[in-house]
């Protein structure tokens, strides 16, 4: 347990982008929102009762999606380098001189995209949206409008739970086979891990399409990537409620197949961490 804790800390020391990137994006979202605040009273007054909810929520949805996309991008780059970088810079020889098992090391590295980053992104998203919420209340009140208008459409508990649901369900669990695949490639590749991660699935899709004129692999991958955005048809229709996982999320076979795949890929990464030598 102790070694796992220190192994996770060591990842955060090495990869400061894990917390810096979402913090910066959170700042950017706030900055944009701050500029847009000037037009908020006018927009609220112009809104009809039908589109009021969307007018109020849309900056929150965009902000959350920006932060979550950041989480995904940071995770992908993190995973690709996690077990490749230490072999390339030979620091593997130092890490292996320490009493930390390959299992603990790989688990610590897997926990970053599957748990640490979702939690961090959640905290930063909630903080960003809370600031947005109180700012818009203040701006509305200052313009003689009902300050509770925003919070009647989006409550603080909504912010906490919709974000938590989305991050844990989709970014933590649903995407876990993706992270595990990237970690496996990272543990195996001696050059260009990004290409090794992308080309084999792409080749599978092409071969399948040409040979059988079917799209099973493509649809599986699409499901993996789009699973999180499935309920909506893109940003305009997206709501904060829509971000949280559907009620049957835990019953989806795709989730459990994905988790089993994650376990298998991680087991492979652990074996490779054991046997691969420095590049």
């Amino acid at each position: 347990m102790n070694t796992l804790y220190w192994s996770v800390r060591r990842e955060l020391w090495e990869n400061r982008s894990i917390y810096l990137a979402p913090l910066i994006v959170g700042g950017v979202v706030l900055f944009g929102f701050f500029i847009g605040l000037a037009k908020l009273p006018a927009r609220v007054q112009a809104a009809t009762s039908e589109n009021m909810h969307q007018v109020i929520e849309s900056p929150y949805v965009i902000g959350a999606m920006m932060l979550m996309a950041t989480q995904l991008v940071v995770s992908i780059f993190y995973c690709l380098d996690a077990l490749y970088g230490e072999r390339r810079d030979r620091s593997l020889l130092f890490w292996k001189s320490m009493p930390v098992s390959d299992l603990t090391t790989v688990l610590a590295k897997a926990l970053i995209p599957m748990l640490v980053l979702p939690l961090l992104t959640w905290a930063i998203t909630v903080a960003t949206q809370t600031v947005m919420l109180s700012l818009s209340g203040a701006v509305l009140a200052a313009n003689g409008l009902d300050a509770s208008l925003v919070s009647s459409h989006l409550s603080l508990s909504g912010i906490v739970w919709y974000n938590a649901g989305h991050l844990v369900a989709f970014h933590g669990l649903w995407y876990s086979p993706l992270y595990a695949w990237l970690l496996l490639v990272s543990a195996w590749a001696t050059r260009v891990p990004f290409l090794w991660a992308v080309l084999p699935p792409a080749a599978l899709i092409v071969v399948e399409r040409i040979a059988f004129n079917s799209r099973v692999v493509a649809l599986l991958l699409q499901d993996l990537f789009m699973g999180g955005a499935e309920p909506s048809g893109g940003v305009p229709g997206m709501t904060m409620e829509g971000m949280s996982p559907p009620a049957d999320f835990l019953l989806r076979p795709g989730l459990w197949v994905g988790l089993a795949l994650t376990a298998a890929l991680l087991a492979g990464a652990i074996r490779l961490r054991h046997s691969r030598e420095v590049i």
Partner: protein
């Protein structure tokens, strides 16, 4: 107690044989010097001992299989098998925190005491340090671990003479304080000579010489021979001969000291000279056979 036991330890890289099935037996409380030319298989042997590389044959270190039990083994075996392997992004303080956090036998005070003798700042990142400072930091971390086996591959590469001397003095005083087993591979033979209890020559993947230092002193004699006694000296079959200033230097194996005293001044050969003698002798025999 046997600390390191190898039987038929063999390693190949593609078609190249790095180790030709060597046998090794190292007990508790020995300081073994592993000497050999480049490509002799020193690093491969050491990497196998510390669980960094797979191998054929049998190998037990402290009763464990290094390849499959590395993480348990490195609680008691600490090693430096290469220079500049500390991650470049890590801060000195983070390295101390990390090792202190995960290694049950790490003495942080001791590591900090080592570092205080250097000019390394704890806030500095490894990439900001000079090569020599990185080695100093690595040595400080490793020497502060109370391990039963210490494996060092060229530990003082890139260090200045003062620090090298200090390092070997520390190694020896630590060792006297609490006996452990040290295996050190190096080209700086003269520096380790006085701390070794055993010496092992490795050449092209084979152990060609394996003796205790007492044995070496009893068995090998270096004689400075004046030119007019050279013919008589050569008749005693030296294993090596080289030219000194105004005299020749001959190394003899297994000759009575009284017999040799008649032909010149006696000394114990340095490990470096002995190494050259043994390796050349082996090459000559190989050529003859």
């Amino acid at each position: 107690m046997t600390y390191i036991e190898a039987r038929g330890l063999r390693k190949t890289y593609g078609g190249n044989v790095a180790l030709h099935g060597i046998d090794l037996h190292i007990d508790e409380g020995r300081i073994v010097g592993l000497i050999g030319p480049n490509g002799a298989g020193k690093t491969t042997a050491l990497n196998a001992i510390v669980g960094l590389t797979s191998y054929e044959g049998s190998l037990r270190v402290l009763g464990r299989d290094p390849w499959n039990e590395r993480d348990e083994l490195v609680r008691d075996v600490c090693f430096i098998t290469d220079v500049a392997v500390l991650p470049r992004w890590i801060r000195v303080s983070q390295a101390l925190d990390f090792v202190a956090g995960i290694h049950p036998k790490f003495d942080r005070m001791k590591a900090e005491a080592f570092l205080s003798k250097t000019t390394i700042r704890t806030r500095a990142r490894v990439r900001e340090l000079s090569k020599g400072m990185v080695t100093q930091l690595h040595l400080a971390l490793v020497m502060a671990i109370d391990a039963r086996v210490l494996v060092l591959d060229e530990p003082t590469l890139g260090l200045d003479i003062l620090y090298r001397k200090q390092f070997y003095d520390t190694l020896l005083s630590d060792f006297l304080e609490r006996p452990r087993t040290v295996v050190v591979a190096t080209h700086q033979v003269e520096e380790v000579q006085h701390v070794l209890t055993d010496v092992l020559f490795l050449d092209r993947g084979r152990i060609v010489f394996n003796r205790t230092m007492e044995d070496v002193e009893a068995r090998y004699t270096e004689v400075q021979v004046h030119p007019d006694k050279l013919a008589a000296a050569r008749a005693l079959c030296p294993i090596a001969e080289r030219q000194g200033i105004g005299h020749s230097v001959l190394i003899f194996e297994g000759r009575e000291r009284q017999q040799l005293a008649a032909i010149g001044d006696l000394r114990t050969p340095s490990i470096a000279d002995l190494f050259v003698a043994v390796i050349n002798d082996g090459t000559a025999q190989g050529a003859r056979s």
